[in-house]
C-alpha cells in the first residue's frame, strides 16, 4: 500500500518577481488521503496548478508513477491519472451534464472526433460511480451547487484517476453534503485512489486526512500524520502565531427600543413571514443551510431583492426599501458573500475601493472630488483596519485574501452605517485575519452599531453573536441565546434543518 504515486522535489515558482513556492518537496502514496492546508497566498493553489500542468515550475522535479518530468501539461497530467476538482468545479455552464462529464475522456484520448454515444455512456457510468442520478441533458449552469460538485467528481472518477486533488471542496457545501463527500472520499481511498484534500478548514482536514502538509509563505512548514496533530498546532504552523479564543469580550445589547424591527417580511419562494428585532450594540446571527433563505433575506433588507410584503421599522419609523440606494439612505450597509464578484473592484486602487460608498461626501456640491480628503480618508481606513499595503494607490488585487476582506469591510464602515449586514464575512479568509475580523465585529457593536451576521460557521457565530436565529425553508424556526447554547447544540439543529 505504501507505493509512491507522486513525488515533487525542490519546486520553486515565481510570479512577477514574487516567490509563490520556495523549494517544496513532498510525496503522496497510493490510497493515501493527504491534507494540504495553508492560509491564502501560502502557495497551495500554485502547487495544485503545477501538478495539474497549468503552471510550469521555475525549478524542481516532478515524479509521477516513476516517470520524471521537469514540467507538465494539462494533458500529460491527466494521462498520468491526475484529476483536479477546482473550487469552482471547472465546469462549462453552457454545456450539458453528459458533455461536462464525458468530454475529458475524448480529449485525453487525443481524439479529434466526438462519439456522442460514448460520451453519454461514459457520463452515465461516471454518475453511477458516485451513485448519483442527475439528468444527462440538463444544462450544467442551471443546476444547484451540490449537483455541480457531483458532476465534477464523476468526471474525475471516469478518468480512472489515481490522484484526485480537491481544492477547497467544502466551501459551497452544507454540513450534510460534506458528510456525503467524506463518505465518497473514503470509498475512493479503499479503491486505492489517492486524494489531496486542500482546504483551510482545519477540522475537516484533520477528520478526513491520513497525513497533513502545511504551507506557509510558499514553504512547506510541516508534514506529519494527522493523528499526531491537533487543531491548535495546525493553526500555529499555518499562521506562525498562537490565537487565543478563550477570553472574548462580547458586546452587550442596549436595553432600549430596537434599532430595527422586521415584521412578516415575505418574498416567495425565498422566505415568508420573517419577523425579528435587532438592538443597538447587538450582533445578531442568522444561520441556516444554503437555500434556507438567509442570503435572500439579507438582500431584501439591503434593497437588492425587495420583499413583496411585510414591514421594516427603523428606530420606530416605518421605512420602505425598494432599491440599494434606499437602504443606504437609511444607513444600512451590506458586506456581500462573494468578495471577488460582489465586493471588490480588483483592478482599481485600494483607495478607490475604500471610498466608493462615500464618494459623494468627499466631493463638493458640484460633484468635484476633493482628492486630498479622499486620500486621507483612505489612508485612515488602511491604518484603522491594519490593511497591509505599501500604498493606497496599489490595485486591490495586489492584496491577500484577508486584507481584501478588510477593504470590503472598511468600504462599508467608512459610511458609518447604523446597521451592518455581514454575509459570510470570513469565507476563504485565513485564520489570523479571521480572528481580527471577529474582534472588529464585536468592537463595532460596542460602538453602537447593530450587526446582522449571516454565517454557517458555528464557531464564528459563537464567538461574535448575542443571539442566533436559525432559518429553514424560508422561515425562522428557532432562536438561541449565546449564553444558553453551545457549538454542539447549534450544529445539531443546523444539520437537522435539512428536512
Amino acid at each position: 500500500m505504501n507505493e509512491e504515486l507522486l513525488r515533487v522535489e525542490h519546486i520553486s515558482k515565481y510570479f512577477a518577481g514574487v516567490r509563490a513556492l520556495d523549494d517544496v518537496s513532498f510525496n503522496i502514496n497510493r490510497g493515501e488521503v493527504r491534507g494540504l492546508v495553508g492560509e491564502n497566498g501560502s502557495g497551495k493553489s500554485t502547487m495544485i496548478k503545477i501538478i495539474a500542468g497549468v503552471y510550469e515550475p521555475d525549478k524542481g522535479d516532478i515524479y509521477i508513477n516513476g516517470n520524471h518530468y521537469k514540467r507538465l501539461t494539462p494533458i500529460i497530467s491527466i494521462r498520468e491519472g491526475i484529476q483536479v476538482i477546482y473550487q469552482d468545479f471547472s465546469l462549462f455552464p453552457n454545456l450539458t451534464v453528459a458533455e461536462n462529464i464525458g468530454i475529458n475522456r475524448v480529449i485525453s484520448k487525443g481524439g479529434r472526433v466526438v462519439n456522442w454515444k460514448e460520451v453519454y455512456e461514459s457520463a452515465k457510468e461516471g454518475l453511477s460511480r458516485v451513485g448519483a442520478d442527475i439528468p444527462l441533458d440538463a444544462i450544467t449552469g442551471e443546476l444547484p451547487t451540490a449537483d455541480r460538485q457531483i458532476i465534477a467528481i464523476a468526471r474525475a472518477l471516469l478518468e480512472d484517476a489515481r490522484l484526485i486533488i480537491m481544492d477547497e471542496p467544502t466551501t459551497a457545501l452544507t454540513q450534510l453534503e460534506i458528510q456525503h463527500l467524506f463518505k465518497t472520499i473514503n470509498d475512493l481511498k479503499k479503491r486505492g485512489i489517492s486524494i489531496l484534500f486542500v482546504s483551510h478548514k482545519l477540522n475537516e482536514v484533520k477528520e478526513i486526512s491520513d497525513s497533513i502538509l502545511i504551507f506557509r509563505d510558499g514553504k512547506k512548514v510541516l508534514d506529519q500524520e494527522a493523528e499526531e496533530l491537533d487543531i491548535k498546532t495546525m493553526e500555529y504552523y499555518m499562521t506562525g502565531r498562537q490565537i487565543d479564543t478563550s477570553s472574548i469580550a462580547y458586546s452587550e445589547p442596549e436595553e432600549a427600543p430596537p434599532l430595527l424591527k422586521v415584521e412578516n417580511l415575505t418574498l416567495r419562494p425565498c422566505f415568508s413571514n420573517v419577523s425579528f428585532e435587532l438592538k443597538s450594540r447587538e450582533v445578531l446571527g442568522i444561520t441556516g443551510l444554503l437555500g434556507s433563505g438567509r442570503t435572500e433575506l439579507a438582500l431584501s433588507l439591503f434593497g437588492e431583492l425587495p420583499a413583496e410584503s411585510g414591514e421594516i421599522w427603523l428606530e420606530g419609523k416605518k421605512v420602505f426599501i425598494k432599491r440599494v440606494q434606499d437602504a443606504m439612505e437609511q444607513e444600512i450597509g451590506y458586506v456581500p458573500e462573494d468578495r471577488i464578484k460582489e465586493g471588490l473592484f480588483l483592478e482599481q486602487s485600494i483607495s478607490n475601493n475604500l471610498v466608493v460608498t462615500i464618494i459623494d461626501w468627499l466631493a463638493s456640491k458640484m460633484g468635484i472630488i476633493r482628492n486630498q480628503t479622499k486620500l486621507k480618508t483612505a489612508e485612515e481606513w488602511v491604518s484603522k483596519l491594519e490593511i497591509k499595503t505599501p500604498s493606497v494607490e496599489n490595485p486591490a488585487n495586489s492584496l491577500s485574501g484577508g486584507n481584501q476582506q478588510r477593504v470590503v469591510l472598511a468600504k462599508w464602515l467608512a459610511g458609518n452605517p447604523k446597521i451592518l449586514i455581514l454575509n459570510g464575512p470570513t469565507v476563504g479568509v485565513d485564520v489570523g485575519s479571521k480572528a481580527a475580523i471577529h474582534e472588529l465585529i464585536r468592537n463595532l457593536a460596542k460602538q453602537g452599531m447593530g450587526i446582522i451576521l449571516i454565517s454557517d460557521d458555528i464557531p464564528e457565530l459563537m464567538q461574535t453573536c448575542n443571539r442566533i436565529l436559525l432559518m429553514r425553508d424560508g422561515r425562522i424556526v428557532k432562536e438561541f441565546r449565546r449564553e444558553e447554547t453551545n457549538e454542539e447544540e447549534l450544529h445539531r439543529h443546523l444539520v437537522a434543518a435539512k428536512n
Binding site: 495539474a52 497549468v54 494539462p74 494533458i75 491527466i78 483536479v84 477546482y86 469552482d88 471547472s90 465546469l91 462549462f92 455552464p93 453552457n94 454545456l95 458533455e99 468530454i103 475529458n104 475524448v106 480529449i107 485525453s108 481524439g111 479529434r112 472526433v113 466526438v114 456522442w116 441533458d137 444547484p144 451547487t145 419562494p269 425565498c270 444554503l290 437555500g291 442570503t295 435572500e296 438582500l299 431583492l305
Partner: protein, 335 residues
C-alpha cells in the same frame, strides 16, 4: 420535441414564417418561387461568412476583419488569375482564394496567440490593414473583366423558373456550396473536439485550458477556417455581381454579426448553431425584400429594419432581466 419548440432556432423560424405570411397576405406576389430563389441567392454569401462568424462568436470572441479578408482574397485572386490569363471557371478561383484566406486567418491567429491579444482588438487593425493593402497594392477600381469560365456563372441555376417581372431566374448553383459548407461546419461543431472546444472556450476559457483543450490550436483552426469561408463568400459574390471589388463588403461586418446573433449565437460566447445562423440571415433578407413587396419605399426600409432590430434585441434582454431575478432562487426549483 418540447426541447425543439423551446429552442431559439424554432422561435426565429416561427417569426420568419409569420413575417412571410403577413407579407404574402398583403402582396401574394411574395409567394412565388422566384422570390424564394431570390432571397436564397441573396443570402448565400452572407450565410457562408456568417458560419465563420458563428465559430468565432461561439468561442467567445468577436472578429470584424472577415469582410476585409473576403475583399482581399477575392480581389487578389482575381487580379492574379487575370494576369496569368486564366480562362476557366470558378474552381481555381475558389482554390486560390481559400489558400489566401487560410493564410490570412493563420497570420491573425499567430498574432493573437503569440502576443496574447484579444481577437476583437487585433481584428480592428486587421480590417484596416487588408482593405488598405487591397487598395494600395492590388488595385483601386472594380474589375469587370471576367475570365470566360466565370462569365455565365451568375445565371447558372439548378432549377429554372420564369417570372413575369424578373424574367428567367432560379435556384442558383452556389446553394450547393452553402449546403456543403453548412453540413461541414455543423459536423465540426457537433462531432469534433475542435467544435466542442469552441463551445468550451466560450463557456469558460480558463476551464477549457484546464480540461486539456489546446486553445491556441483551436484559435488557429478557427481563424483559418473563418478566413477560408470569407474567401469563398468573396469569390461567389464576385461571380454573382460579375465584378471584383477591392472594397467588397466594406461596412457590412456588423450586419453579418447581427444576423448571426439574431440566429441565436451569444455575443458573449458559448452558444450558437448553424441552423440559427442561416435562419438569422434569411430573416434579415426576407425583411429587406418583404418591405419592397409591402410597398414600403426604399427610403423607409433602413429605418424599419432598425426598429425591428431594436425590438428583436429588446425582447430577449427583457426576458433575461426577469430571469435574472430568479437567479437568486437556485434552490427554488429543487422541491
Amino acid at each position: 420535441m418540447k426541447k425543439l419548440l423551446n429552442s431559439h432556432e424554432f422561435v426565429v423560424f416561427l417569426i420568419l414564417m409569420i413575417i412571410s405570411i403577413v407579407i404574402g397576405f398583403r402582396n401574394p406576389l411574395f409567394f412565388s418561387a422566384s422570390t424564394l430563389f431570390d432571397i436564397v441567392r441573396g443570402s448565400i454569401v452572407y450565410c457562408i461568412m456568417g458560419l465563420g462568424v458563428l465559430m468565432v462568436l461561439i468561442s467567445g470572441n468577436v472578429d470584424i476583419s472577415f469582410v476585409a479578408i473576403a475583399a482581399m482574397t477575392s480581389y487578389s485572386t482575381h487580379m492574379l488569375l487575370l494576369g496569368l490569363g486564366y480562362n476557366g471557371g470558378i474552381g481555381l478561383y475558389l482554390v486560390v482564394s481559400i489558400v489566401f484566406g487560410l493564410l490570412a486567418g493563420l497570420l491573425m491567429a499567430f498574432i493573437v496567440n503569440q502576443f496574447d491579444l484579444p481577437i476583437f482588438y487585433v481584428s480592428l487593425g486587421y480590417q484596416t490593414l487588408w482593405y488598405g493593402f487591397n487598395l494600395f497594392f492590388i488595385g483601386r477600381a472594380m474589375n469587370f473583366n471576367l475570365p470566360e469560365g466565370l462569365v455565365g456563372y451568375y445565371s447558372r441555376f439548378l432549377i429554372k423558373v420564369k417570372d413575369p417581372v424578373a424574367g428567367e431566374t432560379g435556384l442558383h448553383v452556389s446553394v450547393v456550396y452553402l449546403l456543403i459548407i453548412a453540413i461541414f461546419v455543423w459536423w465540426l461543431l457537433k462531432y469534433t473536439t475542435f467544435g466542442r472546444g469552441l463551445y468550451a472556450m466560450g463557456g469558460n476559457r480558463e476551464v477549457a485550458i484546464r480540461a486539456g483543450f489546446n486553445v491556441k490550436r483551436i484559435t488557429y483552426l478557427m481563424l483559418a477556417l473563418s478566413g477560408a469561408l470569407a474567401a469563398v463568400a468573396g469569390v461567389i459574390q464576385g461571380a454573382y455581381s460579375r465584378s471584383f471589388n477591392p472594397v467588397l463588403f466594406m461596412g457590412q461586418d456588423l450586419d453579418v454579426i447581427a444576423a448571426v446573433v439574431i440566429g441565436g449565437a451569444a455575443i458573449t460566447g458559448g452558444r450558437g448553431s448553424v441552423v440559427g445562423t442561416i435562419l438569422g440571415v434569411l430573416l434579415i433578407q426576407v425583411l429587406n425584400r418583404g418591405l419592397i413587396f409591402l410597398g414600403v419605399s426604399a427610403e423607409w426600409q433602413k429605418m424599419v429594419v432598425g426598429l425591428v432590430l431594436i425590438i428583436f434585441i429588446s425582447i430577449p434582454a427583457i426576458a433575461e432581466q426577469r430571469q435574472g431575478r430568479l437567479k437568486y432562487f437556485p434552490m427554488g426549483k429543487e422541491k
